[in-house]
């Protein structure tokens, strides 16, 4: 922490501020051109403060932005968690076995590019319940990056490491815990980082479709239907900040689990 106030940090803060000012300038300009159809930064700031007033309000008829955010995060956590629990073992099996790779990979290639929106009605048909349908959608969409990265990791274990295992007679369990998992872990975390990004993108779309809950609903119902464009902008800012914080968490994990060779 001692170099927090170093010249380098001060300079980055300065550049950040400069970037924000330029963005704010463009925003204000767009707002002016659209004759305030798009609210300017000051007007948005007023709405932001209004939205942030009592954010944890949790009444049956109205829920604050914080409550909505938590409900969105909760659904992301469940969908992403289930997706990862499924994707990591399957990816490792794919990476370790050529047969499994040949069986599963074509399916992955076909299902991966399917739009999240296409999965939602299927989830609705299966679960007859829109919150479960959005979790299903997140599950399916956040699966692929983790699956592919785990498979990549497991299939790229250097021959040297395999030789060690052979030479000293590692058991299957020892090979799994001392070679396969540690080697694949950085790749898995990269996959998780991409997956949480996808999950966070998908949740907004899901909640717009399912209605009633979360940030997506806030954007659609209170923002667009309520004719309050400033609320859409506020939601975009909050979604962006939370998304980048989630990404930061996984970047931190990535650094923690990388090792020098």
């Amino acid at each position: 922490m001692k170099d927090l106030f170093s010249a380098k940090t001060a300079l980055s803060v300065l550049y950040f501020a400069a970037g924000m000012i330029i963005l704010g300038g463009i925003w204000a300009l767009v707002s002016k051109i659209s004759k305030n159809e798009i609210p300017n930064p000051q007007a948005t700031w007023v709405v932001f403060k209004e939205v942030m007033h009592n954010p944890m309000q949790n009444d049956p008829d109205y829920k604050g932005i914080g409550t909505k955010l938590l409900s969105s995060l909760g659904r992301v956590a469940i969908g992403f968690g289930l997706g990862s629990l499924f994707a990591i073992p399957l990816g490792l099996i794919m990476g370790s076995s050529k047969i499994a790779m040949k069986m599963v990979n074509p399916i992955v290639q076909i299902l991966k590019p399917v739009s999240p929106l296409a999965w939602f009605p299927l989830g609705l048909a299966i679960f007859k319940d829109s919150p479960h349908a959005s979790i299903f959608m997140i599950f399916i969409c956040s699966l692929w990056p983790t699956l592919i990265n785990a498979a990549f990791g497991a299939s790229h274990i250097p021959q040297d490491h395999k030789n060690v295992s052979k030479a000293f007679g590692f058991s299957q369990y020892k090979y799994l815990t001392k070679i396969l998992l540690p080697f694949s872990l950085p790749h898995i975390i990269t996959g998780l980082r991409l997956s949480i990004g996808v999950a966070w993108m998908v949740i907004v779309a899901g909640e717009m479709l399912s209605g009633g809950q979360g940030l997506g609903y806030f954007v659609w119902e209170e923002g667009f239907n309520g004719g309050n464009i400033a609320k859409i902008l506020v939601a975009i800012i909050i979604i962006g900040i939370v998304g980048s914080l989630l990404d930061k968490c996984f970047t931190w994990l990535q650094q923690k689990f990388s090792y020098a060779v």
């Binding site: 040297d160 490491h161 030789n163 060690v164 052979k166 030479a167 000293f168 007679g169 590692f170 058991s171 020892k174 001392k178 070679i179 540690p182 080697f183 090792y259 020098a260 060779v261």
Partner: protein, 290 residues
């Protein structure tokens, strides 16, 4: 041992019993026997024969080096002894048993150290001991790791990751790991190839020190392309022909007394004769043509 329980001793069979006992006595001295072994690989361009019809026997406690140009099949030959490579024909007997797979009776030191980068020095050795000597108690395993790490003077570095060590230190960890499972045969595949000359020299002395401490009972087979290294360490130097289908060109004895001294040995006339001989066997041209 069934031969010793044969019933009546008659003049007819007494000589055959003697023969068999003699053969047992001799073969128990043999640590490694390679018999008419050929190794071929299937490649995209057809069958590639790496080594052809090789026979070689190594005595218990002997240090032997395999020397030759790159790609002459010395690592392949070594691989068949370790069990990593399967012979296409012929067989390898190590410690009286036919080699079919790698086993803890043969310790391997790899060319590129092959330490697991996510495990500390200590744990790298411990997992190997834990796997290879699974019937020992935890206390015994811990003691083995400690003894061997202290032997290579790396005890104070036991909590470091391999990435924090120099090349020489990494190779000492690899050697300690191979010694700690106490194999009868130690196989070293160009172990010092990546080290600088000074580190290499001290590693030679350390290796011989470890071998001495173990009462010179371990058989050591080492692949190298360094003539000085081969002479300083070995009892016999196996010179290989160039591949494909490499064979043994000649086996050169090194009758220098042990312990050998790195500094004095180079002035020994015997050393110089062997050095010249190996050089002639390995190199065709000594200067550029006029």
């Amino acid at each position: 041992m069934s031969t010793t329980t044969i019933a009546p001793t008659t003049p007819e069979n007494i000589s055959s019993i003697a023969d068999e006992l003699l053969e047992q006595a001799i073969s128990s001295d043999k640590s490694i026997e390679v018999k008419n072994m050929t190794v071929s690989f299937k490649t995209a361009k057809g069958v590639y024969t790496a080594v052809k019809d090789i026979s070689l026997s190594v005595n218990k406690g002997e240090i032997i080096t395999l020397i030759g140009h790159s790609g002459c099949g010395k690592s392949t030959l070594m691989g068949t002894i370790s069990g990593m490579v399967k012979p296409t024909s012929g067989e390898v007997i190590a410690n009286g048993k036919k080699v079919t797979a790698p086993g803890p009776d043969r310790g391997i030191v790899f060319q590129n150290y092959s330490l697991l980068p996510w495990l500390t020095v200590y744990k790298n050795i411990y997992v190997a001991v834990d796997s290879a000597l699974s019937d020992k108690t935890t206390a015994e395993k811990v003691a083995l790791v400690e003894t061997n790490l202290k032997m290579v003077n790396l005890w104070e570095h036991k909590d470091k990751l391999p990435g924090q060590l120099s090349g020489g230190m990494k190779q000492r960890v690899a050697i300690a790991r191979a010694f700690s499972i106490n194999p009868k045969i130690l196989l070293l595949d160009e172990p010092f190839g990546a080290l600088d000359a000074l580190t290499k020299s001290s590693m030679h002395v350390e290796l011989l020190k470890l071998w001495n401490m173990d009462h010179r009972e371990k058989t050591i087979v080492m692949v190298t392309h360094d003539i000085e290294e081969a002479i300083f360490l070995s009892d016999r130097v196996v010179v290989m022909n160039n591949g494909p289908a490499a064979t043994i060109k000649e086996i050169v004895d090194v009758p220098l007394p042990r312990p050998r001294n790195k500094k004095d040995i180079v002035h020994d006339p015997v050393y110089m004769t062997i050095h010249d001989k190996l050089l002639n066997l390995l190199i065709d041209k000594f200067s550029i043509d006029d």
